[in-house]
């Protein structure tokens, strides 16, 4: 009996503990109404005042956040006459910075680019409107037919180790990139055919052919200029040396990086960098990220949990931002498989999907279902907005299915953790509803990455995400038969040829027509079925600012982040 009483006591304690873990009582000044709210530039959210449990986000497809297209910032201009915090703790993303090495193939993710923006300067960069390209290490530049380029370099620029920056450093960078064929810098610099150093601050570069998109490519964070001498002296840490606004003080791979301000940075002549030290930290657990923001252990967090976002949205203690990104989530249908390459089957899948629900589940309400038929990034240039959506219509899906080669086989849907686990459930359910048997094959990211390889890709459908660059030529990575992220194993010689011609076409009108045609072909062939693109969700403490959102995930800029202190 005593043991029984003790058991009951312990259970009661457990229940008390669970009760303690119940929903947080809302602060009186926090108004989170029905719907997950809209994210305006300053985080003004919608509040319906409806008598619903404010902690439970209710679904309303008409009330999904609109987001903003183009430049959005948290407070951007530095306020005057105030004091700034010396140190900032940033939680950019869940994924960690594994390496400070742009030449390392595994160190090219979004979070790495944040770090590279702090450490390196590029020849060119995006202006405050994140559309206009302006000079950075290059004070001015010119080109002939997008093939012959001349860069006039800035003087008085020094690397973190004190070496002066000269034209030779650009050559060194090109040569370093050329021996790292799996890296992004290799992609950026490989069109370079030859160069000619005129003097320490002038260089001419000749490309293999016309490349209208190369100008934008040079603004990418991984197109930074390296210091060859530092790399030679210290192969492991030489790549930590750049000319950027911050230098690395401490780095724990896959965990945290600590930066100190580079007080010799040339950019200080034009714009103040208010923060002396900055930590880019990795916190894996979403709940922990939210808690750290609420407790003040972090000043800024990207990608808080969607269901936690309303907590910050209307709170006077936080500033928020929900810009649209070019991050497109899609299904890749294996073009080498007889079932998933069948056009009727592909149409059946497209009509079976309830994109609104999938988008909501996949993004927690902070995303948009595709309303047209192209896989193109919503913010990418030369998008063809006239391609119709294959709308959610189960009857039509069943019709197409009946005409397809499908005969009741189990369709393997591959998805990687933690990407869209919930959304893939819904995709499978939608397909089941029209008579397609599915098996969800959850795998880790490397296993999913291995699916790019046609020899390995024996599955049917894979759930993927791609961050589209704003330049139209990015499509070739997905659509060309040899494309690096051709996750469908798609091959269409006509399209390959069209992609080659479009990439070097100098006439903007003809170029746009070509890219529209490319999208039409892809819409017909359907190697990919676009699902949704998402809003980036950002939260900063009140009086935090200086972060701007570019239209692609890779162009975050933390250099001017600040926090006003009382």
């Amino acid at each position: 009996m005593k043991k029984l009483i003790a058991t009951i006591l312990v259970m009661a304690m457990g229940l008390l503990m669970l009760a303690a873990c119940g929903p947080v009582a809302q602060e009186s000044d926090v108004s989170v109404g029905a719907g997950t709210g809209t994210g305006g530039g300053t985080g003004a959210g919608a509040s319906t005042g409806a008598a619903v449990d404010p902690t439970v986000p209710m679904f309303d497809p008409d009330d999904t956040p609109e987001g903003e297209i183009g430049l959005r910032t948290l407070p951007w201009d530095l306020p005057e006459g105030v004091q700034f915090a010396d140190h900032l703790d940033m939680l950019p993303l869940v994924s960690p910075v594994t390496s400070i090495d742009p030449l390392h193939p595994g160190a090219g993710g979004s979070v790495h680019n944040i770090v590279y923006t702090l450490i390196y300067d590029r020849l060119l960069e995006l202006a405050d409107d994140v559309v206009t390209i302006k000079g950075s290490l290059a004070e001015s530049w010119s080109h002939v037919d997008f093939t012959y380029w001349t860069f006039n370099l800035r003087s008085g620029v020094y690397f973190h180790n004190g070496d002066p920056f000269t034209a030779q450093d650009i050559v060194n960078t090109i040569e370093l990139a050329r021996v790292a064929p799996a890296s992004n810098p290799f992609d950026y610099w490989h069109p370079v055919q030859s160069w000619n150093i005129i003097d320490d601050h002038t260089i001419e570069i000749t490309l293999n052919g016309p490349s209208p998109d190369w100008e934008f490519v040079l603004t990418m964070p991984q197109a930074g200029i390296f210091n060859a001498r530092a790399i030679q002296e210290n192969p492991e840490q030489g790549l930590w040396i750049g000319t950027g606004a911050f230098y690395v003080a401490d780095f724990e791979p896959a965990m945290d990086i600590y930066f100190l301000r580079n007080d010799n940075w040339w950019g200080l002549r034009y714009r103040n960098v208010p923060t002396r030290s900055l930590a880019v930290r990795t916190v894996h657990e979403g709940t922990a990220r939210t808690a750290m923001l609420m407790q003040g252990y972090a000043h800024f967090a990207g990608a808080p949990l969607p269901d936690d976002f309303p907590l910050f949205l209307d709170s006077p203690d936080f500033v928020t931002l929900t810009p649209i990104t070019n991050e497109v989530w899609y299904l890749a249908l294996n073009s080498r498989d007889p079932i998933t390459s069948c056009p009727y089957f592909r149409r059946a899948v497209a009509h079976a999907l309830n994109l609104e629900d999938i988008a909501f589940i996949g993004t927690g309400g902070y995303g948009h279902a595709f309303s047209d038929g192209t896989t193109w990034g919503p913010l990418t240039a030369m998008r063809n907005n006239d391609l119709p959506l294959r709308e959610f219509d189960p009857d039509k899906a069943r019709d197409y299915l009946a005409r397809s080669v499908y005969n009741g086989e189990e369709i393997n849907i591959a998805a990687a953790l933690p990407n869209a686990l919930l959304a893939v459930d819904l995709v499978a359910e939608n397909l089941n509803a029209v008579g397609i048997n599915t098996f969800i094959n959850i795998m880790d990211s490397p296993s999913l990455a291995a699916q790019h390889n046609p020899e390995v890709n024996v599955g049917h459908i894979a759930f993927h995400v791609s961050s589209w660059m704003p330049v139209p030529s990015f499509v070739s990575t997905m659509a060309r038969s040899t494309g690096a992220i051709n996750r469908s194993s798609y091959s269409n010689p006509y399209l390959d040829d069209l992609l080659d011609r479009a990439a070097s076409e100098l006439d903007p009108v003809a170029r746009e027509q070509m890219y529209h045609r490319i999208q039409e072909v892809m819409w017909e062939d359907m190697p990919y079925i676009p699902l949704f693109f998402r809003n980036r969700t950002w939260v900063g403490q009140r009086d935090f600012g200086g972060i701007r959102a570019a239209n692609i995930a890779t162009n975050y800029d933390y250099r001017f982040a600040f926090m006003v202190i009382e």
């Binding site: 945290d256 657990e285 979403g286 269901d307």
Partner: protein, 696 residues
């Protein structure tokens, strides 16, 4: 002493070679290579080929392994494929964090567990004792990942006292991860301390001490506790080694930059070099901790010290070892490479013992001896009342002399009416804890049976407009992130946990029994080789091993059973082998040999049937462990694929809405805990029911 040390260190070499080979080969079998992650639009086929050659992927796996080992013997663990940093540097940078975490957890556990255990022992049978017992049983049953997120929610979210992640905020950062780490160690150590002290409190030498007028405090502290340190230290050492090697879950939940998190990330990123290096280093650490534990015995027990320093000669070794309350605990420890001394004054006659054989090894034998003895002794002790003059003179007879002979005969007959099975069930039923456990298991079995009638559509059908609905009359347990009814899913999920538990233990038993029987029966070189293999496998952290296997096999219930079951094999092998070692020297086995039965026949008709019972009884502990292990793999994303409502997966799916909908994670977490607790309670009860001393 030094010879022994050197011998133990040399023994680590084959273990390291074996572990490195197993992990290297397993990592090679995982889908994809490091090249697959190297995406570059402009990479030419030539450049790709160059990369392949750079990583030696065009050569055989054995060539690459040979190359790896060549570097390893030169002290070079290689360079991480994902970070480009030295594997050794990465490991040793992270090691202090893990040592700090586990060490703090250990200190907390010991500081709480020993006084609690002593208190419970002093007040055995009281409410306090039962409270401590249930608390410790609950602690052992609570999945660490679930506890972690509950702590996070309580102390970071609601109370705002502690930082939620990382290690950059000083002592405050350490509290929650250390608490989480401490709980499991504390639970097991409390039980160990209680049983050891309790055993000593009843010993004759304490009665003598009390008779001499020694104060009760001194009796307990100096004599009872003082003589209980060996099993407690063994337990602490084993727990420390296990946590050191398997801190992956706590480190993941709290983003604690330790070696567990580093290794898990390496496996997930297919970083063969880092993963292999880490696991090798972890195995070495594991061996070192076990060695330190063995050495520490000499500090607390002069008899063992004498053995270490004695000259080599064959003699009979007689060691008195106090008890552990639960053979399950011993099996848990055995499964991870350590052993817990068992209950009672156990005399080991070690015919071939080397005088320098460590106490650690002797304790292995003692565990086996006790298991092997459990059933036969029970049968023997049920006889004495009827065995003539000898029994009439027994103390038992004297104690019952106030009854008439008729009463005694009636009682005996009443007892004899029950069959062996009925007798066991009778005593099981009298054990309240076990009875509660049986009820819980029965309910879960009913859930499993009733779930047959739940259409699959009911568990997968989403209703996004009804997502995150709190518990109500419509949805008893609320709804999940996709609006699916949690009650139906939780009930349906019972089958997965039970299947993983029973399936993995069955899998482990099949192989463990075969290998253990062969090893124990033949002994000698066969035994040496098999046990070194078992040691090597046991030194690989179970969760990490399971992760690698799941990556290779892919997500499914069957594969999860295999992944969990494989990690149980070394423990079961060791236990079976110990049991068989005792039996294979018995007279009836010698008789079987004498009449010319084949080894195979003797093993499977004489030895195995007599040695299996205690193993099967103790396997109940493995059921609980398997459920937690399976749920942990699912929680980490390596288990049963969605949309199956496996409890660990459900906890994982709910952790992103922990603040707004805590029921999604909490309810499956409670179910996991209840299932494990029930198995542990029944296991304990079963052990008691089969223990003759408990009958007395």
């Amino acid at each position: 002493m030094y010879r022994y040390l050197i011998k133990r260190i040399l023994l680590m070499i084959p273990i390291i070679i074996f572990v490195s080979f197993v992990i290297f080969i397993l990592m090679e079998l995982t889908p994809g290579t490091i090249i697959d992650g190297m995406i570059s639009e402009a990479m030419t086929p030539e450049a790709r080929q160059e990369l392949i050659e750079y990583h030696n992927l065009h050569r055989s796996v054995f060539y690459r392994y040979g190359l790896y080992m060549l570097n390893l013997v030169q002290g070079d663990l290689g360079v991480s494929d994902t970070t480009g940093a030295s594997v050794a540097n990465m490991f040793f940078n992270r090691l202090p964090n893990t040592l700090l975490l586990v060490g703090t957890g250990l200190v907390i556990a010991v500081l709480l567990a020993v006084p609690l255990g002593v208190l419970a022992a002093k007040r055995a049978g009281s409410l306090v004792d039962n409270f401590v017992t249930v608390i410790s049983m609950s602690g052992m049953s609570m999945p660490p990942f679930w506890l972690g997120i509950l702590l996070l929610l309580l102390f970071s979210f609601h109370l705002g006292w502690l930082p939620a992640a990382g290690n950059r905020d000083g002592v405050l950062s350490l509290i929650m991860p250390a608490m989480c780490t401490a709980l499991m160690m504390m639970a097991i150590t409390t039980r160990q301390a209680r049983s050891s002290v309790l055993g000593n409190l009843k010993a004759d030498f304490l009665r003598t001490a009390r008779a001499k007028g020694v104060p009760e405090k001194t009796v307990v502290r100096k004599h009872a506790l003082g003589n209980s340190w060996i099993p407690i230290i063994t337990q602490i050492g084993s727990s420390f080694a296990v946590q050191l090697a398997g801190s992956v879950v706590v480190e993941t939940v709290f983003s604690w930059p330790g070696i567990g998190l580093l290794t898990a990330q390496a496996i997930m990123n297919r970083d063969v070099t880092q993963a292999t290096g880490n696991i090798i280093m972890t195995s070495i650490m594991y061996g070192i901790v076990q060695l330190i534990v063995d050495m520490s015995f000499a500090l607390v027990d002069p008899r063992i010290k004498a053995q270490y320093s004695g000259k080599k000669k064959k003699k009979k070794t007689l060691v008195t070892i106090p008890a552990a309350e639960s053979p399950q605990l011993a099996f848990v420890a055995a499964s991870v490479g350590s052993e817990v001394p068992l209950e009672g004054d156990l005399y080991i006659e070690d015919k071939d013992a080397d005088a320098q054989e460590p106490a650690h090894t002797q304790i292995v034998h003692s565990v086996a001896a006790t298991y092997a003895d459990t059933v036969p002794r029970r049968l023997e002790l049920s006889e004495p009342l009827d065995s003539g003059a000898q029994s009439r003179a027994s103390p038992y007879r004297e104690a019952t002399s106030r009854f008439s002979d008729e009463d005694v005969v009636r009682i005996i007959k009443a007892n004899r009416k029950r069959s062996q099975l009925g007798d066991i069930f009778y005593r099981l039923r009298k054990n309240k804890g076990a009875f509660v456990g049986l009820i819980v298991l029965s309910i879960m079995l009913m859930f499993t049976i009733s779930s047959i009638f739940i259409p699959r559509q009911a568990i997968i059908e989403s209703n996004v407009r009804n997502r995150l609905a709190p518990p109500s009359s419509e949805h008893w347990f609320g709804s999940d992130t996709q609006g699916r009814d949690l009650f139906v899913r939780t009930i349906y999920g019972t089958r997965y946990s039970l299947a993983v538990g029973f399936g993995a233990v069955t899998f482990g038993l099949i192989f463990g029994v075969l290998i253990g029987t062969t090893s124990g029966y033949f002994g000698g070189k066969v035994d040496d080789i098999v046990m070194r293999f078992a040691d090597a496998i046991a030194s690989i952290p179970g969760i990490l091993f399971g992760m690698v296997i799941m990556v290779i096999l892919g997500p499914s219930l069957r594969n999860l059973i295999i992944a969990v079951g494989i990690t149980l094999i070394p423990g079961i092998t060791r236990a079976v082998r110990s049991s068989v070692l005792q039996i294979s020297n018995s007279e009836y086995v010698e008789a079987a040999r004498a009449i010319g039965l084949s080894n195979f026949r003797i093993m499977f008709t004489q030895v195995l049937p007599n040695g299996l019972s205690p193993v099967i009884v103790s396997a109940t502990a493995f059921l609980g462990i398997s459920i937690v292990h399976g749920a942990t793999l699912s929680f980490l994303g390596f288990g049963i694929p969605s949309p199956a409502p496996e409890w660990g997966l459900m906890v994982a799916q709910g952790r992103d809405v922990l603040r707004t909908a805590p029921w999604i994670s909490s309810i499956p977490g409670v179910f996991i805990m209840m299932a494990v607790l029930a198995f542990n309670l029944v296991g304990d009860g079963l052990r008691d029911a089969l223990d003759p001393k408990m009958k007395r």
